[in-house]
Symmetry: C2
Subunit: 229 residues, 2 copies
């Protein structure tokens, strides 16, 4: 059995695109780099893979260390591998992405970075490495995914109104949807669990509060159901 060291070995980083939705706009979490290369520039949080951890474990560790976020549900996005993408040498980047509600988490700037911050996807700063490509790929994937799977519920409070959900969809897809048809479609889909409660206190009719019915959703998926907006 031939030894692995007979073959040249690249370095591998795990980079994570964290999308955030604050009720108004879609943002992404970026780190300001303290070290070369690209010191002072912004990048998606990432770090080198250790040899004894899975890709997902690595992503979790890196996010905890650099941003204070942990236990996120991450989905693999793409592996970037242009030979010149890192000036230090050959570095592959296995990327992951997820969606969170920025108001539900607390950020901690790890000691490797100058700063950690949210940027609206419509106003991104200059990015280091090939992270512009990474973000573009992530946004495309998110848009594609959101139309046929109920992602996005993580971004809302556990109890939310249909209008809040609609705002989220409009924001991610960058479209405008008819309020009444959205209401009909989403309630008919069977994945919203009515709580029977209302949100009072606003200066108009109190909307009903719903929860995402994951059990029901999983059951529907099993029997061939396809979520569609």
């Amino acid at each position: 059995m031939q030894s692995l060291s007979a073959y040249p070995q690249p370095s591998v980083t795990i980079d994570c695109v964290i999308f955030g939705y604050d009720g108004e706009k879609l943002s992404v979490l970026l780190l300001n780099r303290k070290e070369e290369p690209y010191a002072g520039m912004w990048t998606v949080p990432g770090g080198f893979l250790y040899l004894d951890e899975t890709l997902e474990e690595s992503a979790d560790r890196i996010l905890r260390t650099k941003t204070g976020l942990g236990s996120l549900y991450l989905e693999q996005l793409f592996t970037f591998g242009r030979p010149d993408r890192d000036p230090r040498g050959r570095v592959l980047s296995v990327t992951y992405y997820t969606l969170i509600n920025p108001e539900h988490v607390e950020l901690t700037t790890g000691k490797m970075a100058n700063d950690v911050n949210w940027f609206p996807v419509s106003q991104l700063p200059a990015l280091g490495f090939d992270h512009k490509d990474v973000l573009q790929t992530a946004i495309q994937r998110l848009q594609a995914k959101v139309t046929y799977q109920p992602v996005g519920f993580e971004l809302l409070n556990p109890q939310f109104t249909i209008s809040e959900l609609q705002d989220l969809y409009e924001c991610i897809l960058n479209v405008r949807l008819d309020r009444r048809n959205f209401h009909k479609k989403i309630t008919a889909s069977g994945i919203l669990k009515p709580t029977g409660q209302k949100r009072l206190g606003e200066k108009n009719r109190a909307p009903e509060l719903f929860e995402f019915d994951r059990e029901r959703y999983d059951a529907l998926v099993k029997s061939g159901f396809q979520f569609k907006i």
Copy 2:
């Protein structure tokens, strides 16, 4: 600027799932391994990444060397990275997949393998490494993709009949479609270019021959068109 060698480096292989459709069934190209680990078992064609080539260039080189196939349109599938997936040590696998017509290509068994052969996806042999997972992921991806993008045309002759196209879709998706509705839908989509010719010689009405109109398809995609079966 810190050196890359401060971090442990895994090995990286590129593995390719080559689907083939011969007019009847969906198959996949497998190699019988000559060397340890998993000598004598079947795996998807793959090899180690060199440091000066892109991931796609690597895939192309590996396929040429091991199967004789070159210049295929490959799409990235997933990166597998369980720490125990290779007994020799930490090896990531960046996987690619594509679809070809086995009758249009000639296979060459590289000197690293005992044999190269097609296997129907419904009758797979025991597979080395985690290639069972790789194939399962690839089939799922292919099925998802084929429903909203016109992949599959590569598997047919440049000129094909609508029935041939339908057979292909039924085979990949493993469903049965109504002949007349399929005909209507696919001709209405505007991505088939009529050739005005017919295929004679069979013992029934001669069907019209079509070509895939890639120009028209690209134009449609640009203006927001979504192909759907």
